[in-house]
């Protein structure tokens, strides 16, 4: 066993020996850290359960009655439970609106929530900043407007969109002037959050800035922004779509505009798009013609049944099948007169989908 105590190893073996020591220490550190995490998780779960047991009824009562929000006795919040308080209050805010939301704000002002959120906003951790921003947005605290405004530009997607939402909640007029020009640039913002934000501001407030942003944008940006155009007021949207279909040649913009057609405006232009060289434009045109449902377009739709693209044939067949002036027998006759096998097959499929086969 004397080799265990040898010291005359060559340099490579000595490095290996030191490496073993390093590996051992690292392994122990990782093990201890993992155990620490486990204990912290267990403790965190217990703390949250304790917190919820004390506060659940308080939140529920406050949501239901302003008097309760003003007078209910508040359980004490330990230092460790502060984050739980913010999280649970935000959770409650996100599921209610109207009087219940106002009552929760009254309740919050009786607690440390506003001060805590303002302090947390200064922390470095992104998750802390997000929680603080969300809280201050729900509180509609105008004192922090400028600091929230600065966070809208943050590179972290979740933080920046949360800040954008908070800004609009605090001051919708100001928020919209900041946020709308950013939408195209911040394509990392989840689209449904952007829609929520625009809806929150209201169509009368967003119509003009969004209209201007779309009109002045490059084609690619136009296409992207048009995805939110359904939130614009109807008459502004109608004018926008008609203009874009008339003026624009970019397939992406045409496609996005076609998706927004609701009435009869721009019908001649739409009919001409059934011959467009780009297949997704033809497909969208077929869909719109089906939606408009006019007899004069039947032959156009029929001619699209032998298009080289499956989706164009499919949408044309779907549109024909849904035309209100064609009954089952007329549809079958239309199918039987198709000389092209692809056209007949596609009609067969859409008939089956509509339960007509």
């Amino acid at each position: 066993m004397e080799w265990l105590f040898r010291t005359d190893f060559d340099s490579t073996t000595t490095i290996a020996l030191w490496s073993i020591a390093g590996v051992l220490v690292t392994t122990v550190v990782l093990f201890v850290y993992t155990m620490g995490l486990r204990f912290a998780t267990v403790a965190g779960d217990r703390r949250r359960s304790r917190f919820l047991a004390a506060w659940r009824d308080v939140f529920a009562a406050a949501m239901l009655s302003r008097r309760a929000a003003e007078n209910i006795e508040l359980p004490t919040v330990s230092r460790d439970e502060r984050v739980n308080l913010l999280e649970e209050w935000n959770r409650a805010c996100s599921i209610v609106d109207g009087d219940a939301a106002e009552n929760l704000m009254i309740l919050a002002r009786r607690t440390e929530i506003p001060a805590l959120a303002t302090t947390m906003l200064k922390k470095r951790r992104v998750s802390s900043k997000i929680l603080a921003t969300q809280t201050l947005g729900h509180l509609r605290d105008s004192k922090v407007r400028q600091r929230i405004h600065a966070l809208v530009e943050h590179e972290n997607t979740a933080l920046s969109i949360t800040a954008a939402l908070a800004l609009v909640a605090i001051d919708a007029d100001f928020g919209i002037t900041v946020v709308v020009p950013m939408i195209e640039r911040r394509r990392d913002w989840p689209k449904n959050r952007v829609s929520v934000l625009l809806r929150m501001a209201g169509s009368e407030r967003i119509s003009e800035p969004l209209y201007r942003a779309i009109r002045s944008a490059e084609d690619d940006a136009k296409t992207y922004l048009l995805e939110f155009a359904w939130l614009i007021e109807a008459q502004v949207l109608d004018a926008l779509v008609t203009d874009l279909l008339r003026e624009n040649k970019d397939p992406g913009v045409i496609n996005a505009s076609l998706k927004l057609v609701s009435g009869f405006s721009g019908v001649p232009r739409i009919a001409s798009l059934t011959q467009h060289p780009v297949s997704f434009v033809r497909m969208q045109a077929a869909k719109v013609l089906g939606r408009i449902g006019q007899q004069e377009h039947l032959s156009l739709l029929e001619s699209m049944l032998d298009d080289r693209e499956w989706w164009v044939r499919y949408r044309a067949a779907q549109s024909i099948t849904s035309l209100p002036f064609l009954g089952p027998n007329e549809l079958r006759r239309l199918r039987d007169r198709q000389e092209d096998r692809y056209a007949a097959d596609m009609l067969q499929q859409t008939f089956a989908e509509a339960g007509l086969a």
């Binding site: 590996v23 392994t27 989840p190 959050r193 596609m346």
Partner: protein, 471 residues
């Protein structure tokens, strides 16, 4: 060269390999830990805010099935209950010789449907398409057996109608929110073309109605070792490559793809043994050729569980197949290796995979023989050998400990302290016997690839958790 020179050279080769592979793994660990921390910073917030709850990227879920009569109904029922606003489920019956198709027809009221099926990627002939009379988003594609999962997947891809395609094994146990989690990179970055998620072992877990009810560890030793292996493979093996866009594998058990890019790449290769890896490499190749920015990425969320082999025969078959697939996939996409614009894929990931994953077993197996021969001939310095063995085992344990730490940091799926203790125990004992055995199987897989071999549907003996569930 004298025998002594040969032995000395051999020592340095093994040492260089040892240093290289462990440095690589350690770097992956660091990158993965950073990536997971970053991901988790906002994951809770995204969850709480329900950010992606009603987004409009519908998904087509493709489930290739061959002789899955035992579990297909339970699997489909579970997949129909996933938490996602809009998706369709396409089961592909690849000419099963059992009553897989009939079970689907009976259970879900499937009726033949005159679908204008279009073959955009290669697959064998489709006999018919069925549509459920009860569930609007369920279809079954019945096709002539193509002999591989890849062929069946392609038929499913052809029938897809939505922009994202998720290919899932019929026996996979999915997390109810798996689609919501795995779609996140597509929403955050429009250049994303493929996303993989963490696959875990189902053995030992309680599964009810196709859903995971309780997480547990298997009693079977081989399955237990694979639990630790999967933690290593996914939490730092994959997560370590993803931030540098060097991910080469998305597990065939669960992967989400941008459909048009998938079709442009030609779909799955029916002749590939490791069709999942081959596809990812081909996607890299396609995107490099197009010179467009793209991301192939990975989410650490455990999205799916799969059955692990519980006997040596199945395990050997799986490992031989994986190694064979690795060699074939790299060979089929060899143009990536020399691509000057290949980035991290060509300059880091592929060289690492070639040296340490593909040809590594040659060095490892040769190393074992080398030690045996040197020991037998009396050329071995036992103290030094013990030190290097200790270091190898220590590094192995450390990497596994790190993977367990990442698991605890991210998802903490094993809530009992007893389970954690068992994982640490396995992290130590797997170094004695199991690793050597897998090195030999991988060597055999490498030889099978070099000799050329065929691929067909392969199945493993199911663990009782999934079988019982299906009864």
């Amino acid at each position: 060269m004298t025998l002594q020179d040969f032995v000395l050279t051999g020592q340095w080769v093994f040492l260089a390999y040892f240093v290289g592979i462990n440095t690589g793994y350690l770097l992956q660990n660091v990158i993965a830990a950073h990536g997971i921390r970053k991901y988790l910073q906002t994951a809770d917030q995204y969850e709480a805010e329900n950010v992606f709850s009603s987004l409009d990227i519908p998904i087509s879920l493709v489930v290739p099935a061959y002789n899955e009569s035992v579990s297909i109904v339970t699997s489909v029922k579970a997949m129909l209950q996933l938490e996602y606003p809009q998706y369709e489920l396409i089961v592909v019956n690849d000419g099963s010789t059992d009553d897989t198709l009939q079970k689907l027809i009976d259970e879900f009221g499937m009726q033949e449907f005159p679908e204008a099926y279009r073959a955009r990627v290669e697959s064998t002939e489709v006999r018919s398409v069925y549509r459920s009379t009860r569930i609007a988003n369920l279809r079954v594609v019945d096709k002539v057996n193509g002999g591989s999962k890849a062929d069946a997947s392609n038929a499913g891809i052809n029938a897809c109608r939505y922009p994202l395609v998720c290919v899932v094994d019929a026996d996979s146990v999915l997390q109810p929110d798996s689609l919501r989690r795995v779609v996140r990179p597509f929403l955050e970055d429009p250049t994303t073309v493929a996303v993989g998620g963490t696959v875990r072992i189902a053995n030992g877990c309680t599964v009810r109605q196709g859903f995971l009810e309780k997480v547990g560890l298997p009693k079977n030793f081989l399955a237990l070792v694979q639990v630790v292996e999967y933690l290593r493979a996914f939490l730092f093996g994959r997560m370590g490559w993803s931030p540098i866009n060097g991910l080469l594998i998305i597990s065939g058990a669960f992967g989400l793809f941008h459909k048009e890019t998938l079709i442009e790449a030609g779909g799955y290769n029916p002749k590939a043994v490791g069709e999942d890896m081959e596809l990812v490499l081909r996607l890299h190749r396609l995107m490099k050729k197009k010179r467009k920015p793209y991301r192939i990425t990975f989410v650490p969320d455990p999205v799916c569980r799969t059955d692990a082999p519980e006997n040596l025969k199945d395990l050997k078959g799986q490992r031989v197949r994986w190694q064979h697939g690795l060699g074939q996939a790299l060979a089929l996409n060899r143009s990536l290796i020399t691509n000057p614009r290949g980035g991290a894929v060509s300059w880091v990931a592929i060289p690492f995979y070639m040296v340490f994953e593909l040809f590594g077993p040659i060095i490892e197996v040769a190393g074992y023989f080398f030690i045996l021969i040197c020991g037998f001939m009396g050329w071995l310095s036992w103290p030094e050998a013990a030190i290097f063995l200790g270091l190898a085992v220590g590094l192995g344990v450390m990497l596994s400990t790190s993977a367990i730490m990442l698991e605890e940091l991210s998802f903490g799926m094993y809530p009992r302290f007893r389970d954690l203790a068992l994982l640490y125990f396995i992290a130590i004992v797997e170094n004695f016997g199991f690793r050597q055995l897998t090195a030999i199987w991988r060597f055999q897989g490498l030889m099978r690839w070099l000799r050329g071999g065929e691929h067909k549907w392969e199945s493993i003996t199911r663990s009782s958790s999934l079988m019982d569930e299906a009864k």
